[in-house]
């Protein structure tokens, strides 16, 4: 098989090809190592690990030859550089973690390696996962492999952002420089880049995938999850990543279903909620049209669309920012120049702390730490932080009430397609608005997936989002599969490693 043909396989196809010995894990991994190098201009990877990948591929080939293959044997995946990987540089996209080589492996990545997966490297991200455009990384911005092709901005061929914060993972998967990837989603950081890059990204239920060994941003909102090219690929990956972990006290002690098998379950008669509050000002017509198309697709597959109300939707974003920033200011207190990472010497201990954190944190991280510190400080705690936590309760109640009427909810993933950074004003709130449709699921802890469903007039991918009941990823994935089959997306970005096969 040519490299381009190998790189074009889905995870499920690659798994089946390896099992049938159509190619070896070493061949597949070599093609991907070359793809990672070819995709270097996208800056999707901070640390490629080609030698480790080949060693893991050889071990997979050895198991496959003995007929004792594991579920993900020989599958090359990328890891967001927020997951600690033993002895391999882990940066969180921040200067302040310079040179940090964790003495331990995160639970989620450990599970992937135990399932036979091959690590291609660590992918770029917004610093500490704080961003929606992958422009705040100390290691530079990531470029989206898609460019505008046609339409209203024809001829505008500026580089576009991949979304964020899991922008490196999304760009790598879309550009065929990884077969699949891990991401993390605190307010949309898996789903929004998946939408911008034309791939599938799933934020599982809070507690489904362990947070142990994932660099913390906002602990009550952080969700590790899978990113891939198809719904089936994401289902396969989720099964390997999920499961109870005693080292994460919020990890759910539940059995992990066979998500791939769940894709074949029935869809007829399912009730799909269409929340009227998601028709927000400034949303592009084409996204509204795609949403209506999505409703039709689900109806044709036998589902019953039901208009529902999630009245607190408009308050999700400000509540989210208060809670996330408060938790972030507390979590990021550990970066003090003493135990790991960067140290900037000063006159005494206090000055060392202050200089280390001034130099080590970028502008967006500093802004968020300062706001978080303010809203947790005496006199403001009740007005901002506690208020936001009460609104969070109301948002969770909105979902609980909706899920008494419907089995899942269909919305757009993001209010726009990918944009060029120069098209934004620099106002932080304008950037925060990217997450308007994705943050509610983080606050409520319910699962949600983005599926590529169409192209904008400019030729850029647009995603639709399915949200479901807590721990019912099966229905979410099944509905996503219906959308995927109906949409027949099948488009490739302008840049694909190995070329278009």
């Amino acid at each position: 098989m040519s490299d381009a043909a190998l790189l074009a396989l889905s995870l499920a196809e690659a798994r089946d090809g390896l099992a049938r010995k159509l190619f070896s894990a070493r061949e597949l991994t070599t093609a991907y190592n070359d793809a990672v190098a070819e995709a270097e201009p996208l800056n999707a990877y901070i640390t490629p690990t080609p030698e480790r990948a080949l060693a893991m591929a050889d071990a997979a080939d050895e198991r496959l030859a003995r007929g004792v293959g594991l579920p993900l044997d020989g599958i090359p995946v990328a890891v967001k550089d927020l997951f600690c990987t033993k002895d391999i540089l882990t940066t969180a996209g921040s200067h302040i973690l310079d040179g940090f080589r964790p003495p331990y492996e995160s639970t989620v990545t450990e599970k992937l390696w135990q399932a036979g997966a091959v690590m291609l490297g660590k992918t770029n991200l917004d610093e500490f996962a704080m961003g929606s455009s992958n422009t705040t990384s100390w290691y530079g911005p990531v470029e989206n492999p898609w460019r505008r092709q046609s339409g209203t901005k024809m001829g505008d061929n500026r580089p576009l952002v991949p979304g964020g914060s899991s922008g490196g993972s999304a760009a790598a998967v879309a550009a065929h420089a990884a077969l699949a990837a891990t991401g993390t989603d605190t307010g949309g950081s898996i789903r929004q880049p998946a939408s911008f890059c034309g791939i599938v990204g799933l934020k599982p239920t809070y507690g489904r995938c362990s947070r142990w060994g994932v660099v913390a941003y906002a602990s009550s909102l952080d969700h590790p999850g899978p990113m891939g090219r198809t719904v089936r690929d994401v289902a396969i990956l989720l099964r390997a990543m999920a499961g109870h972990d005693p080292r994460d006290s919020t990890s759910a002690p539940l059995m992990v279903p066979d998500y791939e098998a769940a894709l074949d379950g029935g869809f007829r008669g399912l009730r799909v909620g269409i929340p009227k509050e998601y028709r927000v000002d400034g949303m592009a017509d084409e996204i509204e049209a795609l949403w209506r198309q999505g409703v039709e697709w689900l109806r044709e597959a036998g589902a019953e669309p039901v208009e529902i109300s999630l009245p607190m939707t408009k308050y999700a974003l400000p509540a989210y920012y208060m809670i996330a920033l408060a938790e972030a200011s507390s979590n990021l207190a550990r970066y003090d120049g003493v135990r790991f990472g960067l140290r900037v010497e000063g006159d005494g201990l206090e000055e060392m702390y202050e200089l280390t954190r001034a130099v080590g944190f970028g502008a967006e991280v500093r802004r968020r730490v300062l706001i978080g510190t303010y809203v947790l400080s005496a006199g403001y705690y009740d007005a901002y932080y506690l208020k936001a936590q009460r609104v969070r309760t109301l948002i969770a109640r909105d979902f609980a009430a909706a899920f008494e009427q419907v089995d899942c909810i269909l919305t757009p993933t993001a209010p726009s397609a990918a944009f060029a950074i120069s098209e934004k004003s620099g106002d932080p709130i304008e950037m925060y608005l990217n997450d308007v449709f994705t943050v509610p699921a983080n606050l409520a802890g319910v699962p949600a997936v983005s599926v590529p469903a169409g192209l904008s007039r400019d030729g850029l991918p647009l995603g639709l989002q399915i949200t479901g009941r807590a721990f019912d990823e099966e229905t979410v994935l099944r509905a996503a599969g219906v959308l995927e089959r109906a949409a027949q997306f099948g488009h490739l970005p302008g840049f694909v490693a190995g070329g278009r096969s």
Binding site: R101, P102, P103, Y206, G207, S220, P246, S249, T250, A252, P253, M312, Y315, P318, Y321, M322, G337, V338, R339, F340, G341, L342, R343, E345, G346, D347, G348, L349, E350, E351, M352, E354, R357, A358, R366, R367, V369, L370, I371, T373, Y374, S377, Y384, L386, K387, A388, Q389, R390, V391, R392, T393, L394, A396, D427, P428, I429, L443, A444, G445, V446
Partner: protein
């Protein structure tokens, strides 16, 4: 909520982030702008609504109070910017 320069300087000192004098004014404007936007939460009636800290089960699991890990001093100190004789080292705190 309009924050002034002195408040920003105070927050920065609480957060142990050194700011240059020239950074205070623009940051005061940015933070005030964000907090103004957040104040739309005051439109929501929340009397009697309990705060939600997590989507996970309210009660944390218990485990035996037993040592399950340890003896990794070298590995842990391996990432320290400065370490001596088995300890993290910092600038002198006590005269």
């Amino acid at each position: 909520m309009a924050l002034d320069k002195a408040t920003v300087a105070h927050i920065a000192s609480l957060a142990r982030v050194r700011l240059a004098e020239a950074e205070l004014e623009p940051l005061a404007d940015e933070l005030s702008h964000i907090l103004d936007w957040v104040e739309q939460l005051n439109e929501v009636e929340t009397a009697g609504v309990p705060p939600m800290a997590s989507a996970a089960a309210a009660r944390l699991p218990m485990r035996d109070d037993a040592v399950t890990d340890g003896g990794r001093r070298e590995a842990i100190l391996g990432n320290a910017p400065r370490a001596e004789r088995g300890f993290f080292t910092v600038p002198k705190v006590v005269e």
